[in-house]
């Protein structure tokens, strides 16, 4: 017996909200990256859930792409964090405010 689709969607929405919460309240750039990962994975859960529901593989293929994208994003994110650390001696995103009016 399989779980109904709504459960997957509730899980996905929960994970996404957790990610969004992280993006909005965290100050550390590392937490930021993690939060973004959560949001991406929420999307992946959705894709796989629908793929299972409809019985074709398109969603799963997309999810693979999403995972690859997430990996790439982490690579870039870590790079940005390193530069941030080098310039501001910190990875607090609320400190780096020179790019403003």
């Amino acid at each position: 017996m399989t779980a109904p689709l709504e459960w997957y969607l509730v899980l996905s929405a929960g994970v996404f909200c957790a990610g969004l919460f992280g993006v909005l309240v965290r100050q550390s750039a590392l937490h930021f990256v993690m939060a973004v990962e959560l949001m991406l994975n929420a999307a992946n859960i959705n894709l796989v859930a629908f793929s299972l529901e409809h019985g074709n593989l398109t969603g799963q293929v997309f999810a693979l792409f999403g995972i690859a994208l997430a990996a790439a994003e982490v690579a870039i994110g870590i790079g940005i964090i390193l530069v941030l650390n080098r310039n501001f001696d910190d990875i607090d995103v609320t400190e780096a405010v020179t790019m403003r009016w």
């Binding site: 993006v23 909005l24 100050q27 930021f32 995103v93 609320t94 780096a96 405010v97 790019m99 009016w101």
Partner: protein, 681 residues
């Protein structure tokens, strides 16, 4: 014999070559370019005389398009350059080149011998002046005429302001330029109007705008024209004619645009002679003659011309009565005499006007050159009250000047008598058959005859008769042959010039001996002069669809005698008042009238007031509106953007969390909007 029309372009081009030559090499040329100018104008004179000879012995009218700058391709407008040498143009070419030739010779004495500097500029401008006027004279269309009309204006600006280091000449030059420009503005609008109306500006040919206009108005109308402003065809022709007349009034110094001309006396005297006799001022009147067939279509335009002319003749003569400077008297007499020509043109006296233009060119050039000789003799003192007794000391100048004065005063048998009489007679002839405007003009003309004779002989007596009133007048500087030669030539012509058209004696000598009339009617050429002949002009004038003038048959003897008697009255009065060895300044007895006349009716002040009291405040108000109104709106839009931008940029905090929040909020908002619009809830 070589066909003279093959070289007709050279009449104007040779002075142009001389201009370029003098401009480039003037300082290294003998006499600083005078000789090149004399040679060029002499050449033009010779060719012009050959052309006249050719036309007088059965030649054909030369009309040729040389160059087209915008081809009409059958529709729309066509702009071209072309030459038209008909009897009128040939006569004018001869006058212009003759006067210019003599003025160049006279300048040898007036400028070179006096050790003036800047002679290269002088002779270059003089050549350019001659070129522009000659080209203007044989232009075959209105646009080309306009271009050279403007060039003539420019040259007079350059020459009037020749002594630009002094205070007076630059300001006089500027005034001449601006006042004539004011008139030319209307002329330019007129040229455009002619284009828009007829699609062509040609003076001659089967499809000239004059012929087209005639065909439109004829009872069995075959022509085509566009009218504007909802006016009728004849009304629109009147409007166009009056617009062009604006340029004429500026150039020919007709009231109220005459104020530049007396100031133009600041230029060298030979230049004054050239401007007044043959070039600048003559250009305006010549333009009316050139398109006379067009003016003949509109009784209103003719009435305006006659009235303006008659009034100017009278008005300028009153001011000449009290002037103390020799050249000022002559300047006002020029304005007055051109008024006569306008009167004649308005009064249907085409032949009379051309005749007066011819004789006036001769005797006015003579008088100015004579005045130039006196001014040299007097070491540039022009006040007549400092002269006196020059008669015995400069006999050549005296006798030629006297002949010119007799011609100007219209005394039998000098040239001016015949032409002035023709002017008055032809006007009267048309006036008596119910044209009150012409009668008013004629009355002004008669009054001016008395005054002309009076101020002319006041001038002669004050200058040449009586006892010398200063040491300079007692021992004047002698003048050379280069000044005497032009005087003698012009003096002789002033005596005999009337032979051209002795209209007063028409009943005795027979109308076949009125040479100028025959000449302008195209009787001497082979072929037909067609719409350019004086006969055709008179035919149009007397047609009901056009001016509708009627001729009252009169013997010319009566009006002729009247004008002569009036002239003699004026002359006699001047002689009686100023004959004394030490003449008293009678004009001071006029008191306040004299002050008014000396100040030229305060017209200059009035025009300055118009500029500073009306135009300048208006311009300031417009500027204020522009600065605060128009610019205010633009600046206001800018300030609002600046202000809101200043406030809104505060949301760019630089904190990435805020951006993320805004993004999320935006997404939520978008979803809500889509939700409401899509009916999800």
């Amino acid at each position: 014999m070589v066909d003279v029309f093959n070289v007709v372009e050279a009449i104007a081009l040779v002075p142009l070559v001389s201009f370029l030559l003098v401009l480039a090499l003037g300082n290294r040329m003998p006499k600083k370019g005078a000789l090149s100018g004399i040679a060029a104008t002499g050449f033009s004179l010779a060719i012009s005389l050959l052309v006249v000879l050719d036309l007088a012995t059965g030649g054909e009218v030369y009309h040729e398009e040389l160059f087209t700058f915008v081809a009409g391709d059958g529709a729309g407008v066509e702009l071209s350059f072309g030459l038209l040498v008909d009897p009128l143009a040939a006569l004018m070419l001869t006058i212009v080149s003759l006067i210019s030739f003599l003025v160049h010779i006279f300048s040898l004495g007036y400028m070179n011998d006096e050790g003036e500097i800047g002679l290269r500029r002088y002779y270059a401008s003089l050549s350019l002046f001659t070129f522009s006027m000659l080209a203007f004279v044989y232009s075959d269309n209105l646009l080309m005429a306009f271009m050279f009309f403007e060039l003539v204006g420019l040259c007079s600006f350059l020459l009037i302001g020749f002594w630009f280091r002094e205070a007076g000449p630059p300001s006089a030059a500027k005034k001449a330029f601006l006042v004539t420009r004011f008139g030319d503005y209307f002329f330019l609008v007129g040229v455009v109007a002619v284009f828009a109306t007829f699609g062509t500006t040609a003076f001659a040919g089967d499809h000239s705008f004059i012929v087209e206009a005639t065909h439109v108005l004829e009872p069995d109308a075959t022509g085509e024209m566009n009218t504007f402003l909802g006016l009728g065809e004849q009304a629109w022709i009147t409007v166009v004619g009056l617009l062009v007349l604006g340029g004429v009034m500026g150039k020919s110094a007709q009231f109220p645009l005459h104020t530049w001309l007396p100031d133009a006396m600041e230029g060298p005297t030979p230049v004054s002679a050239l401007i007044h006799a043959a070039t600048m001022v003559a250009a305006g009147v010549y333009l009316v003659m050139r398109m006379y067939g067009f003016y003949a279509l509109s009784p209103t335009a003719l009435g305006v011309i006659a009235l303006v002319g008659g009034f100017t003749a009278f008005f300028a003569a009153t001011m000449a009565l009290v002037k103390q400077e020799l050249k000022q008297v002559l300047a006002y007499s020029t304005v007055s005499q051109y008024g006569y020509m306008m009167l004649a043109l308005g009064g249907g006296g085409y032949v009379g006007a051309v005749f007066h233009l011819t004789t006036h060119a001769i005797f006015k050039a003579l008088l100015f050159l004579g005045a130039g000789a006196v001014i040299i003799a007097m070491h540039h003192n022009e006040n007549m009250w400092d002269m006196g007794g020059l008669k015995s000391r400069m006999p050549v100048t005296y006798w030629t000047f006297l002949f010119g004065s007799l011609a100007l005063a219209g005394i039998f048998p000098f040239a001016g008598f015949w032409s002035k009489d023709e002017v008055l007679f032809e006007t009267l002839q048309h006036a008596l058959s119910g044209e009150p405007l012409l009668l008013v003009g004629y009355a002004f003309g008669l009054l001016a005859v008395v005054m002309t004779a009076f101020y002319t002989f006041r001038m002669v007596y004050l200058t040449f008769h009586g006892e010398p009133r200063t040491d300079t007048a007692a021992s004047p500087e002698p003048i050379g042959w280069s000044m005497k030669f032009p005087l003698v030539v012009l003096g002789a012509l002033s005596v005999v010039g009337g032979v051209l058209n002795m209209g007063v004696l028409k009943d005795f000598i027979g109308s076949e001996n009125l040479f100028l009339k025959k000449w302008l009617e195209g009787k001497t050429i082979s072929g037909e002069l067609g719409p350019l002949s004086a006969e055709e002009y008179h035919h149009i004038l007397e047609s009901d669809f056009a001016a509708g003038y009627e001729v009252t048959e009169l013997s010319p003897l009566g009006p002729g005698a009247l004008a002569l008697v009036l002239g003699l009255v004026g002359l006699g009065a001047a002689v009686a008042l100023y004959r004394a060895p030490e003449p008293t300044p009678h004009m001071t007895k006029l008191g306040r009238i004299r002050t008014l006349l000396m100040n030229n009716y305060y017209l200059d002040e009035f025009q300055v007031w118009l500029a500073t009291g009306v135009t300048a405040p208006l311009a300031r108000a417009a500027n204020k509106f522009d600065q605060s109104g128009i610019d205010g709106v633009v600046n206001g839009a800018g300030s609002v953007s600046m202000f809101t931008g200043e406030r809104f940029r505060r949301i760019q905090t630089g904190i990435v969390t805020n951006y993320a929040a805004l993004l999320s909020l935006g997404l939520v908002l978008l979803l809500l909007v889509f939700g409401f619009l899509g009916g999800w809830f």
